[in-house]
Structures are given as structure tokens and as C-alpha cells.
């Protein structure tokens, strides 16, 4: 009984941690990279304060000025920045 409870608790904990990691990340270099990409497209942002990982090379970045952009690589290999 105890063992099952412990395993269940562990499973819940692991799932929660994984989900949290997938939702929001905070790598300063990644934020910088996203800010640079947005700037390269000539879009206003200033500084990326946070971002969410949606998938492989797919992010939603939140900027200091309030703008939010989805930054991703499309199937043709082009980096696309879409205002959210």
C-alpha cells in the first residue's frame, strides 16, 4: 500500500515537473536568441522576458514591451515570426 502510494506520488511529481518545464523555460541565451530573431525581422520587442516552448524550434516569446510572438521554423526551413 505504502509502496503504491509512494510510486503514485513519484509519478505525479514527475509529470508535474515535466509539464512545468514544457510550459515555461528560462534560458537567458535562448531569450537572447529569440530577441535577436525578432529584431532581425524588424519587429518591436526590445527584450524577451520569457518564452514558452511549444515544440522543436517552436517558441512563444513575451517581450518587455508587451508584444508576444510565435517564433518557429517552418517545413521549408525558414524562421517565421508571428505576432500573437
Amino acid at each position: 500500500m505504502r509502496r503504491r502510494f509512494g510510486m503514485l506520488l513519484l509519478l505525479v511529481l514527475a509529470t508535474t515537473l515535466a509539464a512545468t518545464a514544457a510550459l515555461a523555460a528560462d534560458d537567458p541565451k535562448q531569450r537572447q536568441d529569440l530577441a535577436a530573431v525578432i529584431a532581425l525581422q524588424g519587429l518591436p520587442c526590445g527584450e524577451v522576458v520569457s518564452y514558452v516552448v511549444k515544440g522543436d524550434n517552436d517558441y512563444v516569446a513575451s517581450c518587455k514591451d508587451g508584444n508576444r510572438y510565435r517564433v518557429f521554423v517552418n517545413p521549408e526551413g525558414r524562421v517565421v515570426v508571428q505576432k500573437q
Binding site: 541565451k29 535562448q30 537572447q32 536568441d33 529569440l34 535577436a36 530573431v37 532581425l40 525581422q41 524550434n57 517564433v71 521554423v73 526551413g77 525558414r78 524562421v79
Partner: protein, 186 residues
């Protein structure tokens, strides 16, 4: 990551322009002769630095140079001399490696730059094939803008690479603005 590195390599080859185009005159990347020509045109001595980037290059070279270089030249073989004087000259392979390894810009930024380089090359292609009604002078602007973006991204975290790219601007433009050289590149 493989596609990314290949993209970077293509980016480097695209902006450098010399890798695919066999150097017209001598190996040390067509840049050396190009810069050498510029040097002879402006100030014989030279450090090819005839470029504005001269400010960076040991300015002492300019005035005194004639004697100094006259002495220095014989000491170095022709193949090396251009390299030495053109310290600014770009070593394509080395640049490729540096761009691949630079931590100054991230993967997404490298990809984005590559996209923009491809777009610019396409504009040149269209121009040479008559599909784009513009002039070379008008194409210079987006070229300069793109290089500035690259340099701006690199200058803080990878100043030597930014400097190397800056010094090769004219050489790269010489390739892009020459139909024959560009066709070999494209």
C-alpha cells in the same frame, strides 16, 4: 543540428562568396588580390587596408610603411605576403569554422540570417537574369544592411569574427557584383 550546420556553411559560403569561385589570381582567397589592388590604388604601402577599417589596423603602417614594407616584403614569399599584409583577408575555411562554433549567436538567429542571405542571393540572381529591374547600386543597400546585422550580432560576443567580416565587405561585394563570379557562386 546537421541541417543547421549545413545552413551555416552555406551562409558562410554565401556571404564570403569566394569558396565556390576559384580565385582568379592567387589562392589566398581572391580577397587578397582584391585588397592588394585597392591598396596599390590608394596607398602603395599597404596593408590592404585601403579600407576605412584602417582605423583599426596599426595606422603606423601607413606613413612609414614604404620603407618598412619594402623591407618586409622581400622577407615573405608572395603567397604569404598577401596574407600577412591582408591580415584582414578572410580565410574562408576558418570563417566557416568560426561561424559554426561562435557562441555569439544562437541557432535560430543563424537560421534567420541564412534565410536573409538566401533572399539576397535570390535578388542578385533575379537581377542578373533580367527578372528584377534594379541596379547594382540599389542592391548594395540590402547587402550592406545584412552585413551590418551580422556584424552587430557578433561584435559584442565575437569581436574578431565581426571584424573579419567587416574587413571582407568589399571583397564579398566584388564577387556579388561581378556576373561571372556570382554565377560560379550561385
Amino acid at each position: 543540428m546537421n541541417p543547421v550546420w549545413r545552413a551555416e556553411a552555406a551562409f558562410v559560403l554565401a556571404i564570403a562568396g569566394c569558396a565556390a569561385a576559384p580565385p582568379v589570381e592567387s589562392p589566398p582567397a581572391a580577397i587578397a588580390p582584391a585588397t592588394a589592388k585597392q591598396a596599390s590604388a590608394s596607398a602603395p604601402p599597404s596593408k590592404p587596408a585601403s579600407q576605412p577599417a584602417d582605423a583599426k589596423a596599426p595606422a603606423k603602417a601607413s606613413p612609414a610603411p614604404p620603407k618598412a614594407l619594402a623591407l618586409a616584403k622581400p622577407q615573405v614569399s608572395p603567397s604569404i605576403a598577401p596574407k600577412a599584409e591582408a591580415a584582414p583577408a578572410l580565410d574562408i575555411k576558418s570563417l566557416e569554422e568560426q561561424l559554426k562554433e561562435t557562441k555569439a549567436i544562437g541557432v535560430m538567429t543563424k537560421l534567420s540570417l541564412k534565410n536573409q542571405v538566401d533572399d539576397l542571393l535570390q535578388r542578385f540572381r533575379d537581377f542578373y537574369e533580367g527578372r528584377l529591374k534594379t541596379t547594382l547600386a540599389e542592391l548594395r543597400q540590402p547587402y550592406e544592411l545584412l552585413l551590418m546585422k551580422v556584424i552587430a550580432l557578433l561584435q559584442d560576443a565575437d569581436a574578431p569574427l565581426a571584424s573579419a567580416i567587416h574587413r571582407s565587405r568589399e571583397a564579398i561585394w566584388a564577387v556579388l557584383s561581378d556576373r561571372d563570379k556570382f554565377s560560379k557562386l550561385a
